[in-house]
Amino acid sequence: MNERSDIGTAFGTGAPGAGTASAGMTGSGAAMAAGPVPAAGLSGTAVDAAAPRQSLTEREHRSRRRRLNAAESLRGLLFLLPWLCGVAFFLAYPLIYSIYVSFQKIGVKPDGSGLSYTYVGWSNFRDAFILDNEFPVEMLQFVYRSVLTVPVSVIFALLVALMLNQRFPGRMVFRTIFFLPVIFATGEVIQELNAQGQGTIPFLQQYNVTDLLYSTFSPSVAKAITGILDQFVIVLWYSGIQILIFLAAFQTIAKSTYEAAQIDGATPWESFWKITFPAIVPFIVLNLIYTVVDLATYPFNPVLKLITLNMEDVDTGYGYASALGWIYFIILLIPIAVLVIWSRRQTREKR
């Protein structure tokens, strides 16, 4: 009877949530073992034995639970240990070093024994915008192109995924084809194909689209658009993962929802906008973020090329290249932060 009440408190104190159910169980086991000891120690009347014992065990439970939690946290950290080491060596250290370096002018020591560091304050960052006549231009071009490319490839991925989601013979063949570029899109191979004009759509030259664009838009916008069209196939090539994410997203919508809408007389158009679209909004955001990151780390984007060039340049060197890298990263973070905050607000509204 007394033991049973012990088990009850053990379960009662265990807060509902991850991992606590099992913690409560081990706790109860320990309480059961400890149970008879204070009872024997008190050994007085059986009537008031229950009251002090209960308060004792409750305190015990709390400390025991704390100890168990600490042990569990330790275990969790042990699992994370390799990753934590990795973060320290391969992320934190290089990040801090590169912040440090971006405020330095780095040169080779006169005797050639190593690198010399001179503190230059913010001048690397200032030079990037004032002295450098390439970086701001390339950066602006990159922003222009991203603004055009990212929605295009996500919408394209959505349309292809919608088509591939239909039941028809040979859909796996098409899936295989659309995913193929992910397999072989090596930087070098793409570079080579681009150099030979294989990234462009065949009809572009036929219809003189470039001239048309330059006559209708301002030169910088036209340059951005033609830049995309020249590599349009490559842009499409980079939507393989996005297509798969959308296809997986469609699987999360229950078939019965469509059936119900169908019975209520909804047209496919309506059921797309009322059922499919709201359900995949989070995945659209996910894909937008993925595309931005993919585009930003695409090794042949001109900004990254510029950074790499500056790295090797003796005049500018690591310090300046690091500063450029940081400016680039911060500019990149803006759209991602906006997307994340927006999607958070969306999901919160839904709840």
């Binding site: 969790g76 390799p82 090596t186 070098e188 997203a249 169908q262």
Partner: protein
């Protein structure tokens, strides 16, 4: 009559998740078919189907759109393949587009030598395989911890994982290169293998996220029963959770191999000083083919002067085919897992 057929329309065309672009297409097709009662209804059913997305017209439109996109996708690959077999005369001949007059293997011969193919193949395989296996294990451990274990400041730590995914490698490579150079790793595969042990390296954060999402979908009772049976957390992970994570393991393994194989930027920085006899992965060797062939030509003719080897298109394309060949081969067998993996691994939840 008009209202009747309208009702028929409503009854026949039910909703589906058809792409919105189709709507105008079937409406006009339908208008032409409404002239004759029974036959028209049957024809309409065959053409448009019970649901909009199983009619013949819809299917045809779907195939046309998908095929034209597929052609756009495959065309560069075909171009690569075709060019790699061309001789110089075929290359200059405007009338030869895809099928060369004669299949010329000279490009492959030269590329084989220029890439030092067998050696590079072994080096690249060894690097990508070991990095992939290590990432499968280390990222699995980390992903599991994030999904299931009690970790202080878990959200902050997971935010770091997400951040790692976003940081462009250009910010990090310089200090890492300096470190690797001090450790004398810049002529070996170690800059790619060692980070994999620590759940770092190429796209590791993405793999951690995949694992975390996957483990989060498994029922909690599994671990609880393992615990009751007396298994410690590590044993639970190795014996119970990891075997269940097969779909996630497969997708991480395949992607890790492919991405390591194709990676160009990091090797080009870390291995800038490594010579042909050191570790140089295939992706980098395409870049250096010219030098390798110059050297080979000088040695073959016994001359000391540096000869310039003529780098023509067939040679470059043959090199590219040789580099991506093994991955295409892998894809042929594993494409099912690549394509279905994302759905199965529960990334999307």
């Amino acid at each position: 009559m008009a209202s009747g057929s309208n009702d028929l329309w409503n009854a026949e065309v039910r909703s589906g998740d058809a792409p919105p672009v189709e709507k105008s297409g079937w409406r006009s097709g339908l208008a032409g078919l409404r002239w004759n009662g029974g036959t028209a209804a049957r024809a309409k059913r065959i053409l448009l189907g019970q649901n909009i997305n199983d009619g013949v017209l819809f299917k045809i439109a779907l195939y046309i759109v998908l095929l034209s996109i597929a052609v756009m996708y495959i065309q560069p690959v075909l171009y690569m393949l075709a060019t790699s077999f061309k001789s110089m005369s075929d290359l200059l001949d405007q009338s030869v587009t895809y099928i060369p007059r004669q299949f010329d293997l000279q490009g492959y011969d030269d590329a084989w030598i220029g890439l030092d193919y067998l050696k590079a193949l072994w080096q690249t395989t060894y690097m990508s395989l070991s990095a992939a296996i290590l990432q499968v294990l280390s990222c699995g451990l980390t992903g599991y911890a994030f999904a299931r274990l009690r970790i202080p400041f878990k959200n902050v730590l997971f935010f770091i994982v997400l951040l790692t995914f976003l940081i462009p490698p250009q910010v990090l490579v310089i200090p890492l290169y300096v470190t690797y150079a001090k450790l004398n790793w810049t002529k070996t595969a170690l800059p790619f293998i060692i980070p994999a042990i620590f759940a770092a390296g190429l796209k590791a954060s993405l793999f951690i996220i995949i694992y975390r999402q996957f483990f989060a979908t498994l029922p909690k009772e599994l671990e609880e029963s393992a615990k009751i049976d007396g298994a410690g957390p590590f044993r639970t992970f190795v014996k119970v959770m990891l075997p269940l994570a097969r779909p996630a393991i497969l997708i991480v393994f395949l992607f890790s191999i492919v991405w390591h194989w194709n990676d160009y930027f990091e090797p080009s920085v870390y291995l800038q000083a490594s010579q042909a006899n050191d570790f140089v992965p295939l992706a980098l060797r395409l870049d250096r083919m010219q030098e390798a062939l110059n050297l080979h030509k000088s040695l073959a003719t016994g001359q000391n002067v540096h000869l310039i080897f003529d780098m023509n298109e067939p040679l470059k394309m043959a090199g590219a085919i040789l580099i991506i060949g093994p991955m295409l081969f892998l894809y042929m067998f594993a494409q099912r897992y690549f394509v279905q993996g994302i759905e199965r691994s529960g990334i999307v939840e």
